[in-house]
């Protein structure tokens, strides 16, 4: 017969196991996403600029753009490459891009971030 204490123990063990499984799934998903890319490019947003201001990709190359914000919430938007992300401060956001068209693409912050927000942009060059 199962008493209340052993039920709680069994339940706690099950919950812990389930939690580990979920954590692994998330970690694996993240790892798989990053591993699929040939390289990772860090991009930092800080009012009112992105650093670096230009990144160069190769057509057909899968790349992870790792986005950070050093101050407030920013946007990362480029219609032609179908990028529309929000970068929260203190968090890292990975996006995988695989551009199929060569060109120079202006990418903007489209989340109003202050009085000079309209000038916050960077360029993604696809060769």
């Amino acid at each position: 017969m199962i008493n209340a204490r052993s039920f709680r123990r069994a339940f706690s063990a099950m919950a812990l196991t389930l939690g580990v499984v979920v954590l692994l799934a998330v970690t694996n998903a993240s790892t798989v996403k990053a591993d699929e890319a040939n390289r990772v490019i860090d991009i930092t947003a800080k009012r009112f600029a992105f650093t670096p201001n230009t990144v160069t990709l190769k057509k057909g190359e899968k790349v992870t753009l790792r986005l950070h914000s050093e101050d407030v919430t920013h946007g990362f938007f480029m219609r032609a490459l179908k990028i529309d992300e929000v970068i929260e401060p203190g968090q890292t956001k990975d996006i995988v891009v695989n551009p199929q068209t060569a060109g120079s693409f202006t990418t903007i912050c489209d989340h109003f971030c202050g009085a000079n927000h309209g000038n916050m942009n960077m360029t993604i060059v696809v060769e």
């Binding site: 202006t106 990418t107 489209d110 309209g118 942009n121």
Partner: protein, 330 residues
Amino acid sequence: MKKPFDRRSFLKVSGTALGIGVLYTAVPLVAGGETGEMMRWIGKKNGEATSPFSFVQLSDAHVGFNGPPDPLGTKAFERAVEMINALPQQPDLVLFTGDLTHDTEDKDVHAQRMKQFMEISRRLKVGKIMHVPGEHDAGLDGGAMYREFLKDTYYSFDHRGVHFIGLDNVSRAKPEIGPEQLAWMKKDLARFPKSAPIVVFTHRPLFDLKPEWEWFTSDGDEVMNLLAPYENVTVLYGHIHRDHEHTEGNSRHYAARSLIFAFPDPEQVQQKKPIAFDKDHPFKNLGIRLVNEKAGSASSSTVSVQDVELTLQEFSEINGIQQVLKQPNL
């Protein structure tokens, strides 16, 4: 080949290239036309006569801005006010499509700029001045200060048979209208027949004009879907600091010039940078130069007029709006 033009059934809107904005004239024509009937219906509902009237669109004064692209500050805005006051027939309305002020993170200074805007606009003899905010008015505080001075950031009203809808696509962090305002707009439109003449005024373009310069509204397509069934829609906006025309379905979209500095044609340049100030032609690219060229005179006091006729799509095929140039001097 164009279909025969039925003069009984159209809303005429005249645009005046003052270089400071655009003067529109709404004219309900002779009895029998469907649009004329709709104008009378809307006007009767509001106890108004559906006689012809005109209105002016102004945009992007950026009061408080004082940078290299325009060291003259509010001079163009004040000149615009003088020119409107000098019109031989006063318009009924002035619609101001955003960026009344230039933003600053000092709230007190921003409030002073709004007060200065109000002081200059109060010089207008026109009795009715309606506004919507731009991102430089409302971006920093979600429109809180704007509402203190000018109340609602979006609303609608009827004027002599025309339904006006002011939309706010700047108070949210992203360039969007948002679900709450879309739901309000859907309800607002529901009471009108499809042939009702509708003028939408807002700050950002409601279509993808140049997304990488933030010249778009991310849910603008949802606004246009709501407007799609209506046969007679004009959208007036600012933000891009240059004139531009665009047709989408039954609607025609017009951008007004700025009152502070101009942006270049995005098809010609890659970088979004204001056109440099020309001290010899201080109002160049704000439109005054165009006025002088059309008048063939060096005097900026001579104003040429461009009349624009907006017609129902069904009578003008793909053009949607007939533009007829006249050049009387004011």
